[in-house]
């Protein structure tokens, strides 16, 4: 099951030159772009591991694509995303986030149903991948 999180996730995967164009847009808007990775695809997993520092003072997107490829070398089987942070007063939040790398196989999620009082149901999801400990999932 393909993970649909962040922008462009219903499109075919972006190639490097398309990533370059998107990142260049972010940089031109004055946002700080950074690369993050994780092997826990749960949608509530907000904070991924940072790959290096956010790149505040790189005027060109080539640097980000370069770092992305460095990250792929080490975490080629992880989810990698690019996020762009807008530091403008009042915003101070992520303006754009999109996945740029995913594991070869994405096993999807298991739905757990729990009966609670009054025949109500409570649902939660777990990725099949997260059964294994961190680092051994994909």
């Amino acid at each position: 099951m393909k993970l649909r999180q962040g922008a462009f996730s219903f499109l075919p995967d972006l190639d490097d030159s398309q990533i370059h164009t998107q990142v260049q847009y972010c940089i031109d808007q004055g946002w700080a772009v950074s690369v993050e990775y994780t092997d826990d695809p749960h949608p509530r997993n907000t904070y991924w591991e940072m790959w290096g520092h956010p790149m505040f003072d790189n005027p060109d997107a080539a640097a980000v694509v370069f770092e992305l490829n460095e990250c792929r070398k080490q975490f080629g089987d992880y989810y990698i995303r690019i996020i762009a942070f807008d530091s403008t007063h009042g915003w101070e939040s992520i303006k754009l986030s999109f996945i740029v790398n995913r594991p070869k196989e994405e096993p999807g999620f298991h739905v757990t149903r729990e009966e609670i009082k009054g025949r109500s149901m409570r649902y939660s999801i777990n990725s099949y991948a997260t059964k294994n400990p961190e680092g051994k999932r994909y």
């Binding site: 790149m55 003072d57 790189n58 005027p59 060109d60 997107a61 080539a62 640097a63 370069f66 770092e67």
Partner: protein, 304 residues
């Protein structure tokens, strides 16, 4: 296959006006500015014109569908201090940007300190950080030979050199590297790092300025600051240049700038000492012979 292609392309009637391209891209403007603002340096200017021509032709070939290859643009500037290497590098960045060979056209100027770390494992991230900053523009490494210290085999400079070479080769489309430094030391540097020599296509030498050119530079500097020489002061300054050139640590245009700074100092001092009532524009902006002749250089001393 390729030959066939060439034949079909040769049929093409499309034509490109190179001269119009020169003006359209704004390259002509940069070249003219180079001619006007930089005094002397004829061989440098010719080389830059030649390079610009080659790059324009490459672009035209690309447009018409002929086989083209992004030329290696890494350069080395060698010359004595104060001969305008940094200034030319700045112009070069602008030029390459206008020609469409670098995307942003900014110049990141660094020395050994910015590339080499202080402890094991510190160098690689530091160098990469700088390289990333320079992507899409030009990386200018001043006094590049300090990266290589043969007398200390544990020196981290070698690590920076390796990363630099790797990126120069793999990310050729992303950045242009310009190495600069004194000629003799650059030569030893290249000899001990053959990897660099072969990856750099353009070796440009910056000649020393003649006394007349230095005087012209001096006049230009003064003009920018709203000062001027009297006739006799100009003569004195020419003598000063000749004397100063013979001394140690002469740094061409930089020495001229320093000499003028000191002349302005003496000028200000003189105005106070004379104390002849209010002074006008004329007095405030004219350097006289006295301001030059007071220099230690005329009595055998050394100026910086």
């Amino acid at each position: 296959m390729v030959a066939e292609n060439l034949n079909t392309i040769k049929q093409s009637k499309e034509k490109i006006d190179l001269h119009a391209q020169l003006i359209e891209t704004g390259v002509e403007h940069v070249l003219l500015e180079l001619d006007n603002t930089l005094i002397g340096l004829e061989p440098v200017k010719t080389r830059i014109r030649e390079t610009a021509a080659l790059l324009l032709v490459e672009k035209a070939r690309e447009k018409l569908g002929l086989i083209h290859e992004t030329p290696t643009l890494h350069m080395s500037f060698s010359g004595n201090p104060g001969t305008g290497k940094t200034t030319v590098a700045l112009r070069m960045a602008e030029l390459l940007h206008k020609l469409g060979y670098v995307r942003k056209g900014h110049l990141v100027s660094v020395t050994r300190d910015d590339l080499v770390g202080q402890y094991i494992g510190h160098t690689a991230p530091k160098t990469k950080e700088v390289l990333k900053k320079a992507m899409g523009g030009v990386l200018f490494i001043d006094e590049a030979y300090y990266l290589y210290r043969p007398e200390n085999e544990r020196d981290y400079g070698q690590e920076a050199i390796e990363i630099l070479l790797q990126v120069m080769e793999n990310n050729r489309d992303d950045l242009v590297v310009i190495l600069a430094g004194y000629k003799a030391r650059m030569n030893t540097f290249f000899e001990s790092n053959p990897g660099f020599r072969s990856r750099i296509a353009h070796h440009i030498e910056f000649p020393d300025y003649t006394s007349e050119e230095l005087l012209e530079i001096g006049n230009k500097m003064l003009d920018q600051l709203n000062y001027s020489f009297t006739k006799s002061a100009e003569q004195a300054f020419l003598e000063y240049i000749d004397l100063r050139k013979a001394q140690a640590h002469f740094a061409n245009a930089r020495s001229i700038r320093n000499a003028l700074d000191r002349a302005r100092l003496r000028h200000a001092n003189r105005l106070f000492k004379e104390n002849k009532g209010p002074v006008g524009v004329q007095k405030l902006s004219t350097l006289e012979e006295y301001d030059i002749r007071e220099s230690r250089v005329f009595t055998g001393g050394i100026d910086n």
